[in-house]
Subunit: 667 residues, 2 copies
C-alpha cells in the first residue's frame, strides 16, 4: 500500500502547468519565507531549550500558553517535511543546511529516555504526559515522525528517523493496556496516522500496535478506574469540575476531540474538524491494514457520508463553528460569521484530502476523488496567496464587516501555512496511484486528478512505465495521455470521470464507456492499441445550490473543478459584502474571459454574468419580526451592468475592501 | 404614572370574551393547580426552613443546585402575586388561606436583620450576597416585592409588605456606593423594576435610590478595586479563572447578564432574554421617573429597535440560543433546534410586554403596542395549554425529532407557568391607559389592545368614567365602543390602529382620520356627539416573511393579531415536521373555518389553504456539498389536498405526533 507522501516522487510535473506553478511558488517563495518566519519568531532556535519570557502562562487560551510555543515542534516538523519534498524538485543549500541544523538541535535536545518536546522539556519538565487532552504533546510527535519519514526518504539516512524511533520507543513503553501503562491517547489526533505510516517503513509491529491502541482506546467511557481517560486525567491534574477550555461549550465536551465514544460507535462527524479528519485518516489506514480489533468500514463510511452530505461547504471547506473550529449540526452551513458562522480551516480541507485518499484506497469510488479535487482547488489552494507569502487560516464563504476577506502574513498558531506547503509538495501522490505485480508483469494505474504531469515507475531492472497527461486543467477539459511501457508489461488504467461532468468523450473510443463507481476502465488491449488517447470534458459554468435544509437559498457558480466567488476588486460598487445582491441564474448569460493579472501574475478564466440577472433587495416596509411577504423584493435601483466572478482560491490577492461572497442570494 | 399591575383593577371583562375565557382558565384551573404543585414539590413548605436531601449540591447546573430550590422564593412569590390578582375577580377561600399561611411562614422565616431567602438561610447561611452573579438571591427578592405589592393592593394590609420593607431596608444598607457597602447588582434583573414599583407605592426615596444604584452601577468595568464586580466577587469566592457556568460560552461572558458594559453604552440587546427585558423594564421606569443620573432614552430606543427589528421571531418570541436562553447575533432566527436554535421563552415574551408597556408610557407610539399585542396573542398565550394545566417553557417555531412540539405539566425551574398567570391576571392594565386631570376635569384614554371589556375610573366623588369595548376580537375586527362620563368631564381618546391593519374605518367618521404615531385621536367634541362609535378593521389572512438576512425563505400566515402554524393534528400525513413542505402563497386560496374543538373547548378560526399551493422538495440528485441548482425542486408526489392552519398559541393542545411549523418554506 502506497502513501502519497512517498509515492509523489513518481510524478514529475510539466513546467508552467497550473499545479506546477503553484508548487514553484511554494518551493521558491513559501519554504524560504517560512524558514525566515521560523527564525524571526524564535521557533527555529527553540530546541536550544532556552527559557523565554513568552513561555510564561497567560490566561487567555488556558491551558495552552499564549505564545502558542506549544505548536512549535509541529511548525518545525511541517516545515522540514515540506522542505524535504521541495528538495526532490530542486536543490537548495540554505534549506538543506537549515534542515540539518534543526535535526542536530533536536538530537541534542532529546532526553536520554527519548523524550522530545519543547514545552515539556523547558517549561514544565515534571508534567509530561499529564494533559493529553489539551497540550498537543503527542500531536507534535506525530508531525515529527512524518517529518522524519520525509527526511529519511530524501536524505536516505536515519539521522532524524533514529531520533523519532527512540522517542516512539518511549511512547510504546508509556502507553498501552498494561497495568503500569497510561491508557490515554492524543487530544489532537495526528500521531495515529504517523505511527501507521512509520510502521509501513519500519515494519516494526509495536509501531502498528501503538497506533492501533490509540485508535481503539479512544472514547472508552471507562478507560481508567471506571472513568473516561480525560476525566481521570483532569482530576489527577487537580482541575475542577467546571473548569473548561474556551473551545468547549460545555464541560466534558469530548466530542471536540472525537473522544465522546469509541470510534466504531460514532455516527456523525463532530468537533474540531482538523482533528476529526486526521483521526479518520489514521482509522482508514488501520482498516486498510486490516489490523483493527474491529471493523471500521461502516463507521468510516457513515462519518464520511455525514461530513460530505450534511456538513461540507460547496468549496470543500468543513467546520461552521468558530468556537471549536469545527462541525455544527447537520446542514448548519452559514457562509459568514454574521450569518452564524463559517470556519472552513485550510488544514481541515487538507485533512479531507488525506482522508479521501485513504478511503479511495479502501473503497475504490470516485466520490472520494471528487471531494479530493473539490477541496484541493478551492478550500486548500485558497489558503495561500499567489505569491505564497500570505495565508488564510479560515476560508469563509462570505466576508462581513466583522471579518473581511483578507490574508495574513503569519499566525501565532501557524498550522495552516506549512500544511499547504507539504500538501503541494506531495500532490503528485494524490493525482494517481499505481500497482505493479511483478509475477504476472501487470500494472494498474488509477487516475484521480488531472493536470500536466508524468507518472513513472519501475517494473523490474531498468524497465519503466510512464504515463503522461498533458492538459490546461483546470481551465480546459481536454487531457491528452501518452503511455509508454515495456512490451511485455500489461497495463490497465482506471480513469476518473468527475462527478460534475455531464458530458465527456474518450478518443479513440474504448470498448466500453460504462463507468464503474465513477471510473472508466481502459483495458490492456485498448491501451496496447492506443498508447495515445484523449479525454475530453467540456468545461462550462454551472450553477450549484446547497441542500435546501441549509436554509441557504443561494446559487454558486462553478466551472469544472473551480468554485467561483464575487469580489469587490472586480465589482467596486459593493458596500454590503453582496448581502442584498440577488441573482437570477435562469436569466443569466455567463461569459468567460481569459485573464492574466499584471500584479499577481495569475492566469485564470474569469466569469461575467450580465446585469439582467442581478438585482438588489429593496425593503418596502420597515423591518420588524414579520414583514408582509413581498415587502422585501427585488428592485432595479442600483443595478449593475455585469457581475464579475473569479476563482474562490484567487480571492483576497488584489487590493480591495475585503468584500467577497460565494453563494449569491437567489432572486 | 400607573402600572398595569395596579391599574388592571379598572378593567372588567365581558364574560365569554376571548381574554375573559383565558383568564377564567387561569383563575379556575391554573392557580389551584399551581398551588397543588407547590405543595407536591415541597416548595410550599420551604419557608419552614427544614433542610432537605434535595438541597445537596449537584454538579450538573453549577453553581445552581440541581433541584432548583434556588427559585422557590420566586415560585411562591409569583403564585401569590397571580393569586392576589385572581381574588379581585373571584373569591376563593382556599387560595386566600394559602396566601395567608405562606406570608405567615415567611414572617417566621425572616431573619432578625430582615434577610429572607430559602437557600441562604437553610443551605449556606454564611454565604449570603457572595454570588450575585449566579444565585438569583436578589431576583427572588424582586419577585417577593412584586407579590407583596399585589398582596397589599388586594388585602389592604401591610402584613406581607412590611416583611419586604424590612428586607429592603437591609438591602439599602448592604448595597450602594458607600465605602462599606457592596457595589454589586443582581445577576438576574427583576429587583430593579420591583424597587421602582415599590417606590411608587411607598414614596420612600431610598427605594428609588437603590433601584437606581443597581441600574447605574451595572456593567461598571471598575466597580470594585479596579475590577468588574462579578470578577472581583468570583475571586473572593475562590473561583478559578476558567471555571464558568454551563450557560457561558466563554469566561466572563457578562453580556449574559447584560453587565458587559454600562447600560447607557449598550447598543445591541444581548444575553439571557428574560434578564434583558426585565432589566430594560426597570430602566424605562427609571427614565420615566426622570430619576436616572443620565439619559437612557437613546439606549432604550436602540436596544428595543435592535430586538424588534433584528432579534425577534414573527410570533413575538425572543431568544434563539438554547445555551444562554437568549439572543443570538442579528438576524439569527432559526425556527427549530435542528436548524441551529430557537428558544423564545414564555417569560421573555411576558417581559417584552412589560417593557413595551413602559416604553409606551415613555414615548407614545403604536409600535410598542403592536409588539405587545403580537407577543400576547402568540408567544405568551402559547405558553399555556387550553386547560391551564400544561405549559411550554420554550416556544419554538418548528418541531424536530429532537424537540417535539409538546407541553409539560411542570418544570424544575418553574418560572413560566406562574408568569403567564400573573400576566393574564393583570392584562386589563395593558389594554388601555388613562389619565385624569382633576383641575380641568379632563381625561385621556389610550386604547392599546382590543377585546370585550370596560374601563372605569373615578373622576371625583362618585363620578365615574366608563368606556366599554365589545368585540369578537381577535377573530373579528369590529369593535363597538360606548363611552359614559359626567357631562362636565372632557374626554379624549387615542385609539391604536394596529400596524398590520391596511384598512380600517371609524363610524361615525371623526373630524380627522390622520394617525399620529399609529394612534387616531378622537377629540372631546367628537366623543360628546358620538358616545357610541365603532372601529372596523377587516380581518383576513396575510402572508408574512422574516427579513431576508435571516436566511429564512419562509412564509407565515397571520390573521389580525394571530400568527398561525401547521400541526400534524390537522395534517396527519406529515412525517418530517413539514421540513420538505413547500408553500406557494401566490397560488394559495385561504379559506376560513370557525371551529370549536370538542376535547379542548377552544373556539377559533382555522385557516385552510388549498393543495394547489403545496408541494414537496424532491431531491433529484444525491446530496453533496453543492448540488446542481434545480436538482432539489418541487415535485407533485405526495401532494395533499389541503393544508390546515391553527393559531400558534393553540398548538400542542390535541393529541398528535408533536409535529408543527410556523414558517413554511417558499416554493
Amino acid at each position: 500500500m502506497s502513501y502519497p507522501q512517498l509515492s509523489f516522487t513518481n510524478t514529475s510535473f510539466a513546467p508552467d502547468s497550473f499545479i506546477s506553478k503553484k508548487r514553484n511558488v511554494v518551493f521558491k517563495n513559501t519554504i524560504p519565507y517560512q524558514l525566515k518566519v521560523l527564525r524571526d519568531t524564535g521557533t527555529y532556535d527553540a530546541y536550544k531549550l532556552k527559557w523565554r519570557e513568552s513561555y510564561r502562562p497567560d490566561p487567555e487560551h488556558w491551558p495552552v500558553p499564549a505564545d502558542f510555543h506549544l505548536f512549535w515542534d509541529s511548525d518545525i516538523a511541517k516545515w522540514i517535511e515540506s522542505a524535504c519534498y521541495s528538495l526532490h524538485e530542486q536543490k537548495n543549500d540554505e534549506i538543506e543546511n537549515a534542515i540539518h541544523e534543526l535535526v542536530e538541535m533536536m538530537s541534542t535536545a532529546q532526553r536520554d529516555d527519548g523524550y522530545l518536546n519543547i514545552h515539556y522539556i523547558v517549561v514544565e519538565p515534571e508534567k509530561r504526559f499529564t494533559n493529553l487532552r489539551d497540550m498537543h504533546e503527542l500531536y507534535n510527535c506525530g508531525h515529527l515522525i512524518e517529518a522524519a519519514l520525509a527526511h529519511h526518504d530524501f536524505f536516505r539516512n536515519n539521522r532524524f528517523l533514529d531520533i523519532m524511533l527512540k522517542y516512539v520507543d518511549l511512547l510504546c513503553k508509556t502507553f498501552g493496556p498494561g497495568v503500569h501503562q497510561k491508557h490515554g491517547y492524543p487530544g489532537h489526533p495526528e500521531l495515529e496516522l504517523a505511527l501507521l505510516r512509520l510502521h509501513a517503513v519500519t515494519g516494526d509491529p509495536k509501531h502498528l500496535a501503538l497506533g492501533k491502541y490509540f485508535i481503539e482506546e479512544r472514547g472508552n467511557p471507562k478507560g481508567v478506574d471506571g472513568q473516561h481517560y480525560y476525566t481521570w486525567e483532569a482530576a489527577k491534574r487537580g482541575e475542577r469540575l467546571y473548569e473548561r477550555p474556551a473551545t468547549c461549550p460545555a464541560r466534558n465536551s469530548y466530542w471536540y476531540q472525537q473522544a465522546h465514544k469509541p470510534i466504531a460507535d460514532q455516527t456523525t462527524i463532530e468537533g474540531h474538524s482538523v482533528r476529526a479528519v486526521y483521526l479518520l485518516t489514521g482509522v482508514a489506514d488501520l482498516q486498510h491494514k486490516k489490523a483493527g480489533g474491529q471493523d471500521y468500514a461502516t463507521a468510516l463510511k457513515k462519518l464520511w457520508k455525514n461530513m460530505v452530505e450534511k456538513r461540507m461547504y460547496p468549496t470543500g471547506g468543513i467546520g461552521a463553528i468558530d468556537q471549536w473550529e469545527g462541525f455544527g449540526i447537520d446542514y448548519f452551513l452559514p457562509q459568514s460569521t454574521d450569518e452564524g458562522g463559517c470556519y472552513a480551516e485550510t488544514c481541515a480541507s487538507i485533512g479531507v484530502m488525506m482522508l479521501a485518499e485513504r478511503l479511495l484506497q479502501l473503497e475504490f469510488d470516485s466520490e472520494y476523488a471528487d471531494i479530493m479535487e473539490l477541496s484541493f482547488y478551492n478550500a486548500v489552494l485558497g489558503g495561500m496567496s499567489c505569491d505564497g507569502k500570505k495565508f488564510s487560516y479560515e476560508n469563509q464563504l462570505a466576508s462581513s464587516a466583522g471579518k473581511l476577506s483578507e490574508r495574513k502574513e503569519w499566525f501565532t498558531c501557524a498550522c495552516c501555512p506549512p500544511n499547504v506547503s507539504r500538501l503541494l509538495g506531495s500532490i503528485g501522490g494524490y493525482m494517481w496511484s499505481h500497482k505493479y505485480e511483478p509475477e504476472v508483469r501487470e500494472a494498474t494505474i488509477r487516475i484521480h486528478m488531472f493536470g500536466s504531469a508524468t507518472l513513472s515507475f519501475g517494473v523490474g531492472g531498468d524497465d519503466q512505465v510512464g504515463l503522461t497527461q498533458m492538459s490546461n486543467w483546470p481551465w480546459e477539459g481536454e487531457v491528452k495521455f501518452t503511455l509508454t511501457a515495456p512490451i511485455d508489461v500489461s497495463i490497465s488504467i482506471d480513469l476518473r470521470i468527475p462527478g460534475w461532468a455531464d458530458e465527456w468523450k474518450i478518443t479513440p473510443t474504448p470498448p466500453s464507456t460504462e463507468l464503474e463507481r465513477g471510473y472508466l476502465n481502459l483495458p490492456t488491449t485498448y491501451l496496447k492499441a492506443n498508447p495515445h488517447f484523449v479525454l475530453d470534458i467540456p468545461i462550462k459554468a454551472r450553477f450549484l445550490s446547497p441542500h435546501p435544509f441549509t436554509n441557504q437559498n443561494t446559487v454558486t457558480i462553478a466551472r469544472g473543478s473551480i468554485i467561483y466567488c464575487i469580489e469587490d476588486a472586480d465589482n467596486p460598487w459593493v458596500e454590503d459584502h453582496f448581502k442584498t445582491l440577488l441573482f437570477d441564474s435562469s436569466k443569466s448569460h455567463i461569459k468567460e474571459a481569459q485573464k492574466t493579472d499584471k500584479d499577481t501574475g495569475e492566469s485564470y478564466i474569469a466569469l461575467i454574468a450580465d446585469g439582467g440577472a442581478c438585482s438588489f433587495i429593496q425593503m418596502h416596509a420597515k423591518a420588524c419580526p414579520g414583514i408582509l411577504s413581498g415587502a422585501a423584493k427585488a428592485g432595479n435601483e442600483g443595478s449593475v451592468d455585469e457581475l464579475h466572478f473569479v476563482p474562490f482560491y484567487y480571492r483576497a490577492n488584489r487590493k480591495g475592501k475585503g468584500q467577497m461572497r460565494v453563494g449569491l442570494r437567489k432572486q
